[in-house]
Symmetry: C2
Subunit: 975 residues, 2 copies
């Protein structure tokens, strides 16, 4: 929870007041005014006269400001333009809404200052200046410096100090501050303004040469690293060397002379590196620091971060220059961070930590253990009360949990920063619901407060965030949750060990449909290849199994049954833990936490359900999945993939016999064997979803997926052939027969082999060339439906034909389904309501939707395949170019995660319009992976779809996203 403090701090003073004994006058907390502290303290000297304080509200800008600002003719700001915005407690030129111009930090400081909250005085250089800097070939405008001087004077006035003077020198901090918090931007520079002259002034003033020298050597180190680009380590080596010489372990044990020597050594290093002396002139330091902030806007890390987060590169960054304050001038001083509520649980409690007589760095260094904020009330009751009141006001003002930083100098509280607090999903839900109860926000606001994706964290067991773990590898966070188990390398081993009650993690280079059984048996899946929508990832999410995919540093050796990551070797049956929410792979077992779906979660979801128009269904292939999805709020099944049922061990032989059949009769025999299985499957699912619609898709994947791999069969044949001469005559005959069977499979595999199976003999093309397969499936569906209907269970089967591109295809298959349904209704002497519809997943189907709607009672967008074909991206192969595409900004995002609305979205829009033009009552849904993606859901809502369907674990996400998309609509309508 501790963060590096943004304020610098002199070293601890030797004299320590006793604990609980306030050494300064008490600040009047009620009026939230900063007060001067005891004039005997070091900081008192620094801060006299006391910080300006006025009534809370809008202070008049000082009329003197504009006087020395250059006119546009002199190269100054254009009319209406202002380059710098000052802030002092009780008065600010900007305010908290001006994030575009002042950046997040600058706007926050302005807001706080305006609200009379004690912040160290300072000013913000706008993002517009940053853009001018770039337009001007990396130079600040000529007229910038005079304005800067004017604003520095304001700080000087507020602090009663002079920048660069030997007497009461003013020190400042310089920080970047863009509209959005951006890692990769420039680090803070503290204590700027120090040189040999001001250093002496500081020593004279504070009578604390240790504090002054330590500040100085820290400043040189920071400035050299951040502005001059010299590696930190070379400076650290100097200190390490000195400590070694002095036989001490802590920096604090070094003498004033040591620190003096170190500062001199630093300056020598700088001269060696830049072939110039360290800049001594405070104004030069300041200008260089400001330019360094602007330059850091375009450093590679920042550019990469912006691209990844879709942040426009012309936003620019602001620069904040602020007077230094110190939290480590004695036991009346302190520094700390805190939250207005518990960011981990959401509990309404004052939460945070502090250290007396310290700076942030000390906390990070782990020298002392920080104390909980509650203890501050005993130590410094006045400051504590003031802090609590200020932060409560801030929360009320921003109407959200605040994450704040503060420094207390000799009893005087300074707020250094406040911002919206990051929180866990659990906390987010509790805080949102609590704030509605407190009347702080509306239900709609509460719904918008939760990032739908974050709900996922609440649905899976997860790694205890307090557990100390060291991951051995990192892949993609493909399917969230945590899983811990023994490593296995084949699907068969997974099934075998799971059957013995072992928890196993299936580790594969990549998975394929053969692995479904093994994936089902495993508690988690780890692959070394494939992306967020690889087979492993998609199936795992569907199953709600934890999965880390594409962990590229992992090398699997299936033969030896080991995997290695660098020097680490993990053997079969060793235990690993996967964190599917972060992509981490951890050696050994790590404690996990179980999910909780009641309480605030339930409340929030009920608000979402009341609001949303889109139905939310689930993609489920088994009664177990279906039941789980209903628990998560699913209102039906939007996609039941019958082929997943085909892979079960008791069905696969019949499926294979069907594929290998030489005649229609032989095929029929195999189909007859499959019928009772399918009937039982459908009965289970329809029963689990009693009263709700269930969309069942007829067979979709290419047939070769149901046969063993070529390699496997070839090896088996070789093994059998090798054995045939070593066994008895009778056994050899048996073997020969087996070999013949396997050779037949091999032959069929050759016939079924396809160059691009994605665009091959699959979907309704199978049902059209083998109508008996569709017939069997239709029989199974309607027999199951009638079985249940007879028992009074409500069933609403919806038969969905995949991969349709023409009306004739759909008609061909619909005719079979309708005929079979009539036959069975007649035989069973009852009827059930059912629909026949189609997937819209081939681009042509969208183009021909008006025609196809003549035979379709519903459409369901198969956006995975629609994306693959419309963009020409094979999901299995796209990783090679999709990653560089997103990195280079050629695509804004992975189109398999968020629908490509501008491209693929056109086809969706077209299909909806054309389909409803033919059949205004057409029911339309989406069942691709995108059905659980919030941005796609908002699009579906806009398009007027009837429902989205997603994997069970994404159902709550979809419910929330569907509600949010309505709020979006409402606010759009209000504009």
């Amino acid at each position: 929870m501790n963060k590096k403090s943004k304020t610098g701090s002199p070293r601890l003073k030797a004299s320590r007041p006793k604990a609980g004994e306030p050494s300064n006058k008490k600040a009047k907390a009620a009026s939230v005014k900063a007060k001067s502290s005891s004039p005997s303290s070091t900081i008192e000297k620094l801060l006299a006269p006391p910080i300006a304080s006025g009534p809370v509200g809008n202070p008049k800008p000082r009329p003197s400001v504009r006087v020395s600002i250059p006119s546009p003719e002199e190269g100054g700001p254009k009319p209406g333009e202002q380059w710098l915005y000052s802030f002092v407690p009780g008065g600010a030129e900007g305010d908290s809404t001006m994030r575009d111009l002042l950046g997040g930090k600058g706007a926050g400081l302005a807001g706080m200052a305006k609200a009379g909250i004690p912040v160290p005085p300072g000013f913000t250089i706008t993002t517009a200046v940053c853009n001018l800097f770039y337009e001007n070939r990396m130079h600040l405008p000529r007229s910038f410096k005079p304005i800067l001087k004017e604003y520095m004077e304001r700080i000087e006035q507020a602090m009663g100090r002079k920048f660069g003077h030997g007497d009461k020198p003013l020190l400042v901090s310089v920080r970047s501050g863009a509209k959005f918090s951006m890692p990769g931007m420039m680090d803070t520079i503290l204590n700027l303004g120090l040189n040999e002259k001001t250093l002496q002034g500081l020593i004279e003033e504070t009578d604390n040469p240790r504090f002054a020298y330590d500040s100085y050597r820290r400043f040189i180190q920071m400035f050299s690293n951040v502005v001059l680009g010299i590696d930190k380590d070379v400076f650290e080596e100097v200190i390490a060397e000195r400590k070694k010489t002095r036989h001490v372990k802590k920096d604090g044990s070094l003498s004033v002379d040591d620190l003096k020597d170190i500062a001199n050594a630093y300056k020598k290093i700088v001269k060696q590196h830049i072939r110039e002396p360290f800049p001594d002139d405070p104004w030069t330091q300041l200008m260089m620091a400001i330019e360094a902030v602007f330059k850091s806007w375009n450093n590679p890390r920042a550019i990469a971060y912006r691209k990844m987060n879709s942040i426009p590169s012309d936003l620019g960054t602001a620069v904040n220059v602020q007077a230094m304050v110190f939290g480590n001038t004695g036991e009346e001083s302190a520094t700390g961070v805190g939250f207005t509520r518990n960011p981990s649980t959401g509990q309404k409690e004052f939460y945070g930590e502090f250290l007396t007589n310290a700076q942030g760095e000390d906390v990070v260094a782990g020298i002392r253990t920080p104390r909980p904020l509650s203890e501050l009330s005993d130590l410094m009751p006045q400051a504590y009360k003031q802090l609590k009141e200020i932060t409560t006001r801030l929360e009320q003002h921003y109407r959200d949990i605040q994450d704040f930083e503060f420094t207390i100098q000799d009893g005087n509280l300074f707020m250094l920063q406040t911002r919206t607090g990051k929180r866990t999903a659990m906390a987010a839900v509790k805080i949102a619901v609590d704030m509605v109860k407190e009347g702080l926000i509306t239900k709609n606001e509460a719904l918008l407060r939760i990032k739908p994706e974050d709900l996922d964290q609440l649905l899976h067991p997860r790694i205890d965030p307090n557990a100390a773990v060291t991951p051995i590898a990192k892949g993609l966070a493909a399917s969230p949750g945590a899983a811990c188990g023994k490593v296995v390398f084949t699907s068969e081993d997974a099934v075998a060990m799971a059957a013995k009650g072992e928890r196993v993690i299936l580790v594969r280079t990549e998975t394929n449909p053969d692995d479904i059984q093994g994936m089902g048996a495993a508690v988690g899946i780890l692959t070394t290849r494939g992306g967020m929508t690889s087979h492993a990832a998609v199936v795992a999410r569907g199953m709600g199994k934890c999965c880390v995919a594409g962990a590229e540093s992992v090398r699997v050796n299936e033969e030896r049954k080991t995997f290695t990551v660098g020097p680490t070797i993990i053997r079969e049956k060793q235990i690993i833990t996967l964190n599917g929410s972060t992509g981490e792979v951890i050696q050994g077992e790590v404690p996990t936490i179980e999910p909780e779906l009641s309480g605030e979660f339930a409340t929030l979801m009920s608000w979402a359900d009341n609001l949303r128009k889109l139905g939310v269904r689930t993609n489920a292939d088994t009664p177990e999945d279906a039941e789980r999805a209903v628990k998560f709020g699913a209102e039906g099944i939007g996609l039941c993939r019958t082929e997943h049922m085909f892979f079960a061990h008791d069905r696969l032989p019949h499926v294979q016999r069907m594929i290998l059949a030489d005649s229609a009769e032989e095929r029929q025999l195999a189909l007859n064997k499959l019928l009772p299985f399918q009937r039982a499957d459908f009965k289970g699912i329809l029963r689990a979803m009693a009263g709700k619609p269930v969309t069942i898709r007829t067979l979709d994947p290419p047939l070769h997926e149901f046969l063993p791999s070529r390699k496997e069969i070839t090896e088996e044949i070789a093994a059998a052939k090798a054995k045939v001469d070593t066994v008895s005559y009778e056994e050899s005959l048996q073997l020969q027969a087996q070999i013949a069977d396997k050779e037949r499979i091999l032959q069929r595999l050759s016939e079924l082999a396809e160059v691009n199976p994605m665009l091959g003999h699959r979907g309704c093309r199978l049902g059209i060339t083998f109508p008996d397969i569709t017939e069997m499936q239709a029989k199974a569906i309607f027999m199951a439906a009638c079985d249940l209907a007879k028992d009074g269970i409500e069933v609403f089967p919806e038969v969905m034909i995949p991969l349709v591109g023409t009306l004739a295809e759909l008609k061909n298959q619909k005719d079979i389904v309708d005929r079979v349904a009539e036959e069975i209704f007649k035989k069973r002497k009852l009827r059930v309501k059912y629909l026949v519809g189609t997937m819209i997943e081939v681009p042509r189907a969208a183009l021909m939707a008006d025609s196809i709607a003549e035979a379709a009672e519903f459409f369901s967008f198969g956006t995975n395949d629609l994306t693959q074909m419309t963009m020409g991206f094979s999901r299995d192969d796209a990783a090679k170019f999709l990653v560089p595409y997103v990195e280079k900004g050629i695509l804004p995002a992975d189109p398999f995660v968020t629908l490509d609305i501008e491209g693929v979205g056109q086809l969706v829009e077209m299909a909806v319009a054309k389909g409803r033009q033919t059949n205004p009552k057409l029911k339309i849904g989406i069942c691709g992976e995108h059905g659980g993606d919030p941005r796609t859901i908002a699009f579906c809502n806009r398009m007027g779809l009837n429902y989205v369907s997603c994997s069970p674990y994404r159902v709550p996400i979809a419910r929330l996203a569907a509600a949010q998309s309505i709020i979006g609509d409402v606010s759009d309508a209000q504009k």
Copy 2:
């Protein structure tokens, strides 16, 4: 040229007049009237009174007709509806334009009759009756029979005979006749009306029992087969048995008693089969025959044919009932077929064959050799003159070559049929051009007379149509022309043998890019797998090489270097001949004919060029292809595939080194080696197309296509490993190094392996991830262009970026091309005009065309890939379902041959509109295989494209089709 005559005929009579001695009175040829013949001949008795003859023109319909027609209330035709249309020479109720109602044959007979041409009198039952028959659950309307009787009476009146009477019985033929000629429809029934009673009448009348009995047994046989569905063979067995008993070989040698016995035996067979006696009542016979014709409209063969040829199934068929005439009553009689011009060469000559005293079947049976028509002028000068005059008039009337059938009974000429003559492409061109010169047709009509696809026959050497060949197998006619050479089974062998000057045919299960060299070296390609757009077919057409693809009965054994077709084994180096225009595979050598592009062909093409608006470019990868295409009239190159250059033996090692490179530096070294090759390639092509635009596409296929196959490498590694222990230490070191190299390739192959390479890492995705490849190609293009420009040669390179789906992709690649161009222009101190554009082949590109046009100077539709992705059909895998799809009528045609206009066409239309909306000057073409398909070309013309591009051999086809599409537009505009 001989066809089975549609008229039946009694057996030859014993008495023979001498040749050249006319035995009947001469007909007055000038007035084209039919005249009665000598009353002494057999037929004279049958035909008295003479055939009605009147003035040529519109005879008044007889007022008596409507008298006995039932009214609508009685179930008769509705007002304005007429079910039957009679025709007698000089008068007809219908005319030659009424093909919809009367079918092609009925309309033709009506037209001839109306024109006073002697046809046997009869009537046509309309297609509307056929539809009524089906609406009425396969029953004729109750009121149909009275009308039928009325119309039969008219024949009776015209012939002076009575249907079913013992005295002068009327015999008729019954034939189907749909709007379009349709194989698979019902066969003709002749001599209908015969039974024991009429038979006796016929014998009495003609005094020719042999003729009568033979007619009778033939009638029973035909009727039983066609109407009652009894297999022909059971009847043939009876005759064979009798001939065996009589020790004779020919039917003609059987006695009258034999024929009598045979007729009786036939009737017994019928009774056994249908458990009823053979229908004796002539009216029953007639009604059954008419219904059989209607039923045959929906027999499976007819349905299949209609689906294949996109003939609507609700057209229905008409039925033609016509009086029988006989050409074999003596030496004054004859039967023959002919053409008004030579259908093989187009020469204007009276062309045909005849036999005196004969029927068509005799010709087919090969008993006698038919004589050329010219000889008829000596034998029967009157009939000959009349025939010539009539057929000349028919040609003038129909303004096209006529294919006619005639029968002369005892000197009386009867025209049995006339229709537009089928002709070879060569003849079609000559006839069309000649007819323009003769003032018979306009140039536009001449252009419309040629099926563009047929021109292909003129561009390739072809099998001499007169050569007698027996194909051993048949595949798809994948690339036309003929090729004869020695069989080879590998690309390497093809190259090696071709280098020795041998003509070879490359025989493969299927081809892949590795085979390009071998295909180039071979004169023809035969594959056993793959369709019309398989790799072999596409490449072969591009190369203008003869190719037979997907010859499924051929089994290749690469190991043994043989192929088998059933029991036939063909070994390496045996000679075979391929007929790429028919798909036939012939053992041994067959004579061929060379093409001729001047004369009428050149005239016709110049007319086409004057008319068309669409430009015609070619797809060419080599200077040779480019030069050939220019000869064929190409106006530029629309697609130059740089990757085909990569496969040459001197480049492939560098390409592979580039792919295997571990670093950018290593890759650059390989690219540097490739640069001079590519530069030379482009120089060659740009020079061949001097003054014309050349569109060069940057690298498109996935990189693994340039590496050897996994299997090959694995085997090589195994072989090397086996050898390593058997050689000297030094050699073993070398081998080890080779093994390491190969293992590296194997590793890279694994990395490059893709599940769906079609949708994988290819096209501009390569150029974006490996910008140095694009850079090298751009360098080669502009260096080559500058080299030529310096020599004063005009060059217009157009750089085309493949597989673009977003503007950012195109911009990324365009930036590289533009930068490289500028660099080279600067260095060379000259500039050449060039364009940068993109393929539109990913559906998303069409959807985003407005955005993509911001950076594109031209679009070129890659309709192959656009079709694959829009329809979700992998071209390589689609055969499995495309064939059944077309058969079942789910698709009207193979979408890889003719563009799917209603689906994929929408994207083309959208892209054109959106692209030109952004950039009104956008140049737009098409470079997929469809660019040479006439229907697609017409669509491109409608869409306002600038040009089409196709393989060199399709250039003339495209020129003609482009002209035809304009005529289509004109005639549409005139409506």
